[in-house]
Symmetry: C3
Subunit: 101 residues, 3 copies
Amino acid sequence: MANLHGMKMVTVICEELVRPVVERLLKEVGAHGFTVFPVEGAGQQGSRRGEMSEFRNVQFEVIVQPAVAEKLMERLQSEYFPRYTMIAYEQDVRVLRREKF
Amino acid sequence: MANLHGMKMVTVICEELVRPVVERLLKEVGAHGFTVFPVEGAGQQGSRRGEMSEFRNVQFEVIVQPAVAEKLMERLQSEYFPRYTMIAYEQDVRVLRREKF
Amino acid sequence: MANLHGMKMVTVICEELVRPVVERLLKEVGAHGFTVFPVEGAGQQGSRRGEMSEFRNVQFEVIVQPAVAEKLMERLQSEYFPRYTMIAYEQDVRVLRREKF
């Protein structure tokens, strides 16, 4: 049997310019690694219904223990969401572990 | 506690040329935003077993309420799958909300 | 109702040079297709705490039956993890099926 371990994957989508800010936060909360890749983001902005603007964004994916995910989400909500345009969400993942038991 | 909200993430993978068609559909079903990025897709096509062709595709990710996800999947199945080569799947995500309660 | 089918999505992140190795494995275990895209990976390496190196990686996403996911994870663990720097994880997805019932 493969040795799978329940973890949380947190995805953060932000403007390219904010990338170093998010990288620093990920290190501060104790993430051991992450991936990041460019995406185009489209979203409704302003008052006109049905119109979407497109942006150059980056998408971070980081796999962490549940307690780290909670700490990361709390800091995003209280410190970063008020200042930056960001999306953040969490999913359950089963991560393959290197170690054998 | 971070203010997380259960939503659906729908992923649609299609040929690059079909991108504007999917963008229009996402707006029609009421998505407020999405991300899109290029991927290479490899899949078995035709009759030769074990052979895969590679394609330039795009991958859409859109986060919506469950009712919007259902409407999107129904329209993909009835209107788009018969005409285009596409993959679509749905996952549960917990999205961080800007608003505080 | 959209015709959704419970499957597993396996994500494998590896160095770009290892890409053909993973592609061969995916075919061997019976995957019918996959997507792959470039990502930057950052991870702690070596002895210095808090330092992350960045790498050019690729991220594979493959949707398979649970039995195929298990076989893929087992082979990654026993044959590939000892030789390559890789991350692999599994998620539940509900895939839209082309066929109608």
